[in-house]
Symmetry: C2
Amino acid sequence: MGFRFVKNNFVRLYNAVWIAKSNKMQLTQYTDFSLRVLIYLSQKKPGELATISEIAGFYGISRNHLVKVVHNLATYGFIQTTRGKNGGMCLARPAAEIGIGEVVRHTEPNLDIAECFNKENNSCVISPVCALKSILDDARNSFMQTLDRYTIANALSQQHGLSKKINIEFLR
Amino acid sequence: MGFRFVKNNFVRLYNAVWIAKSNKMQLTQYTDFSLRVLIYLSQKKPGELATISEIAGFYGISRNHLVKVVHNLATYGFIQTTRGKNGGMCLARPAAEIGIGEVVRHTEPNLDIAECFNKENNSCVISPVCALKSILDDARNSFMQTLDRYTIANALSQQHGLSKKINIEFLR
DNA sequence: TTATAAAATGCATTTTGTATACATCAATAG
DNA sequence: CTATTGATGTATACAAAATGCATTTTATAA
């Protein structure tokens, strides 16, 4: 489902050795859906609106979940929404001006925080001398900086004439 | 607790807007504990063993959980364990030769997989033309490559004489 | 002005994975 | 043989994501 790292057959035993599929260090479906909505909208003609039901139907995903995703995207100014009959949504900016990292930052909240010593909760006795916080900070920054090099416009492969094919599907 | 990004006061509404603390895109306690065990062991004198109870007591964490962590670390050759009376564990290699990335790869299984089109589960209609998979691959590789630049020996700050202080605490 | 269609909002429920507890088994020292 | 320590497997608790449902608000068309 989508591009996520999630839901594969890799099984690890967690008790004893590794048991089940982990879902940490992965983006949420929330982010997945957010990006896919933006990709969908990027294929619309200028001025044309898409509805939540239309997008949910296209991808075959939960309409209810998408409602929240769309609202969030609107709140942070990635899309513009119009209520009422013939309403819908469209990109608030050109796809080439919407950074993947920017979107992820608004859908994966804890990315910005590497909290080693939470004032209340810190119970790690070595935190005063522990450098892991900065090491992980460093790694997470690398992750986000890489995402920042891409935009929604980069998210569809332009090779092999497939973008034309997808247009047809999208706007059928 | 520890260095993790987890458990902070950042609250987002998830329904409607954002509700609760997300815990995605974060390392598990499993990894947290794994690294902390290795850090602890790196402060032991050569030949000296530590027990699970000792480490659990030192950090004030669940002994039961630590049992699995230790077993996993032994399975992948990071530590050597000895059962029975006067048993315990020690590092299998010098701390400077144990990479953070290497450890994380053995405790966060799904890091290696950016599965966009799972043979059975793929339901994303645009996956044939979707470039998000490679974009996320790229970002995740940046993350891991950064971790690969550090070892367990780098995980304790050597500044301000704190490493001496921690030694005392550790080996008291 | 009324009917309709769309997003906005809030709450409830289900699902899933992590964390934890608990109960034994296996091995080693003395 | 017995005590101690890791190894192993099962069961339970909890938190967060995902999903579903109901209602409200807003805008447009007829």
